[in-house]
Every structure is written in C-alpha cells, then in structure tokens.
C-alpha cells in the first residue's frame, strides 16, 4: 500500500473494540491519525461515517469508512497484505481462526462485564460462565505459543485486548487467572512482549480504576 494513504481511526481510548483495531494497525506499522470521540457528544464525522450504528471504532481509509472492529481488522489484513499476516494461508485453518474469533466475540464480553460490575448471585453466575468460556479457550490454546499456532494472529489480537482487564476480573471476582488458566496467563505474557500489544493496551491499574468508578456509580462498593 502507498505511503500517501490517509488513515483515520475514530475511537475511544477505553474501548476494547477500538483496541483490536489499534493493535492491528500497529502490527502492520500503518501510520494513522487517532481521533478520540466524546461518546456523549458524537462528532458529525462519526455520525456521517457510521450512520447505521453511530459507534466507534470507524476506520476511514482514503475517505471511505469501514465499520465494526472485526470487519476493520480483516480489512486491514486484506489491504496491507504484504506484511505480518493475521490469518494462515490454508482455508481450513482460516475457517478455524474465524470460528474462534466469532466464539470469543460472542461469548467473552457479557460474562466479563457482569463479573466486573455485579455482586452476589448475579456475579457468581457471571463468574461460572466466565470460567466455562475460558476453560474452553485454555483447552483450545493448549501448548501452542499462540491460538493460531506459531504466529500471532487474528484470534490473539482479539483476545489480547481482554488481558488489560484480567487484574480487574481477579480483584472483583476473587480468583487468580494464573491459577485457573496457566496457559492463557503464559500466552498473555507472550503477547505483552509484542510492541503492538504492549503499546496499545492501557495499564491494568487504569482499567481497574475505570471499572471501580463504574461500580461506585452502580452503588456496589
């Protein structure tokens, strides 16, 4: 891709969905302009570029918008295909990667949110669901360095964004990720050695503060 490509990312710093795109852009070493949106006062540009959902992240490439974080990550991979591929080349392995991306996208978010922002019975139920999902992921990762094998890829980009919340989950859920999910914990450390992940993910303590504010707002603590 030419160096005079214009790439703008409309995003919000806390957004897990935005982080996926930021990691993808960093992996491909794409220069872009980052614009932080005020979600209570969305810009005209955001509303024009994503009239259907009005949500971030939106990637604007040479004036054309791409919406939905997973679609954006695939777009980035397909356009900047000359470097750091996110997907294997074999169609069956690609299908497996897409399956796990879909699984993580659908099954991790809600139990995570509930685990962090509820208490009592509701939290216990969320914790149970969270453990079930992560047990499946722990099994799927197995002894591989990354979910797709030797190379860091699409599935890793997606799941790694949750790692900045692990400390939060542990604290409010009262458990240890390392004890329950040792393989995922080792994988987390491996991902954090990648510049794209380390530079994109906020400090886990910051995420804890964000969730703490939310919990206070809900009257939990």
């Amino acid at each position: 891709m030419a160096d005079d490509d214009q790439v703008i990312l409309l995003d919000f710093w806390v957004s897990l969905f935005g982080m996926r795109v930021r990691i993808a852009l960093a992996e491909k070493e794409i220069k872009y302009e980052y614009r932080n949106e005020d979600l209570k006062n969305k810009s005209d540009l955001l509303l024009k570029m994503n009239p259907v959902n009005k949500k971030i992240p939106v990637l604007i490439h040479n004036g054309k918008p791409v919406c939905e974080s997973l679609i954006i990550v695939q777009y980035i991979d397909e356009v900047w295909k000359d470097r750091s591929p996110f997907m294997p080349s074999d169609p069956y392995e690609r299908a497996q990667a897409r399956f796990w991306v879909d699984f993580i996208d659908k099954k991790v978010y809600l139990p995570s949110v509930r685990l962090a922002t509820t208490k009592g019975e509701e939290q216990e139920a969320a914790k149970k669901e969270f453990f079930e999902v992560f047990e499946i992921l722990e099994g799927e990762l197995g002894d591989k360095p990354y979910f797709q094998g030797e190379a860091f890829g699409f599935v890793d980009i997606l799941l790694s964004t949750y790692t900045c919340y692990f400390h939060t989950f542990e604290t409010f859920g009262n458990f240890s990720m390392e004890v329950k999910f040792p393989k995922i914990t080792a994988w987390t450390k491996r991902c954090m050695q990648r510049e794209s992940v380390a530079k994109t993910l906020p400090d886990p303590k910051k995420m804890w503060e964000v969730v703490m504010e939310r919990r206070k707002g809900l009257g939990l603590d």
Partner: protein, 219 residues
C-alpha cells in the same frame, strides 16, 4: 482425489439453507444429513460439542461451524461462482450488512413477531427502522450482490421465505410491499433464483413449524 463432503442441517433452518445455496452456486456435490434437533445425532455432538448446532459442514473429515464461517470457507475452497466480492472494501461492506442482518435485524424481527404483547408496538417500530436501512442499502440494484446474488443476499435468506412464514404464523405484518417496495421485489427475485428455489423448504410446512417453535404458549 475423492473428496468427502457432507452437510449436517435441518430442513427449517435458514442457516442450513445458506450453505445449501452456496454449495449449489459452486456446483459442488455433497451428502446431506437431516438432523432432528430434539434428538441430536452422535455425529453432530461430536463435530460441534460446544454449541451442538447446525449447520456443520464436514470436508474430508474436518468439521466447519457457523454459517458465515462456512460460506467464506466454501468461497475460498471452490472456484467458480464468487460469493464474496473480490475488492477488500466491497468485502468489508458485504460483511457489515451480513453482520447487521444476523446481529440486529433478525433478533428485532423475532421480537416483533413473537415477543411479548406488551412490547409489540415498540418491537415492530424497531424492526421497521432496521428494515428501512436495508431497503436503502439495496438502492436500485437487483440483488445486494449486484446483477447476481452474493454474500448479503444469501445471508438475507431469512428475509424471504422465513419472514413471510413468520408474518403468516404470528399475524404481524412487517415487510409490506407499500413500505418496502425494493425489498419485496428482491425477496421475490431471490426466491426465484434456481440455486435458491430448489433449496427452500415448503412454505406451509415451514409456517406451521415456526409457529409451533416460537408462538405462545411455547416457553
């Protein structure tokens, strides 16, 4: 090289239907296995232990799950008829509308047709607004894919026969010709395409089945 290809599906499932349409467009032979969703086969439970759902495509012993993942696999594995656009930007747009249909429109339609009486009006309003967005996206094209059917058309299969059955079974009218002239025309053209026509389930049986599945007093 003999290839083994089988599809575990269910006659009333629009998701299974998507895969049948795609395989037909690619002119690929396969063995179809009808699953009884109230009595799932050991084969289905073996190939999809997590969700236990159809469709499952099994290619040379390797299972593929999730209709959208399967559609992309079919497009990458067999040449011939293109299901996904070739251009990355057009692919992103097609994926966007496919996701819109599955994640937002279908749940809204289900709520409008089969949800609680109390929230019915609001649910119908929501589904109508979402259908309007799709009506606008179709513009003057014959199909979402242009002159021939593509990914979005296949994923929108639920909006042709299944929506008609939903409306007849529930008594709720959503996609009328007056409000949605483009989508109504598309629905008819889509269902008349040969790859689709021969893979659609019979309407009356489908209506009865969906009514028993979704209608009250089912829990």
């Amino acid at each position: 090289m003999a290839e083994e290809l089988s599809l575990l599906g269910m006659w009333a499932s629009p998701f299974s239907c998507r895969v049948k349409i795609a395989l037909k467009l690619k002119v690929v032979q396969y063995k179809y296995v009808e699953e009884d969703l109230f009595n799932k086969s050991p084969l289905l439970l073996k190939y999809n232990p997590i969700d236990k759902k159809v469709p499952v495509l099994v290619h040379n012993g390797n299972p593929l799950l999730e209709s959208l993942v399967i559609l992309e696999y079919i497009d990458e594995t067999w040449q011939g008829y293109p299901i996904f656009p070739k251009d990355p930007y057009e692919r992103a747009v097609a994926r966007f509308w496919a996701k819109f249909i599955d994640d937002k429109l279908l749940p809204a339609i289900r709520r409008a047709c089969w949800g609680e009486e109390k929230g019915r009006e609001k649910a119908v309003e929501e589904a109508t607004e979402l259908l309007q967005l799709l009506e606008m996206e179709l513009k003057e094209k014959r199909f979402f894919g242009g002159e021939t059917i593509g990914l979005v058309d296949i994923v929108a299969d639920t909006l042709s026969l299944w929506l008609t059955s939903f409306e007849e079974g529930s008594g709720v009218e959503l996609m009328t010709r007056e409000k949605f002239p483009k989508l109504s025309k598309w629905s008819h053209e889509f269902a008349s395409t040969s790859a689709v026509k021969e893979n659609l389930p019979p309407k009356d049986e489908l209506t009865v089945f969906l009514k028993s599945l979704f209608g009250k007093p089912a829990k």
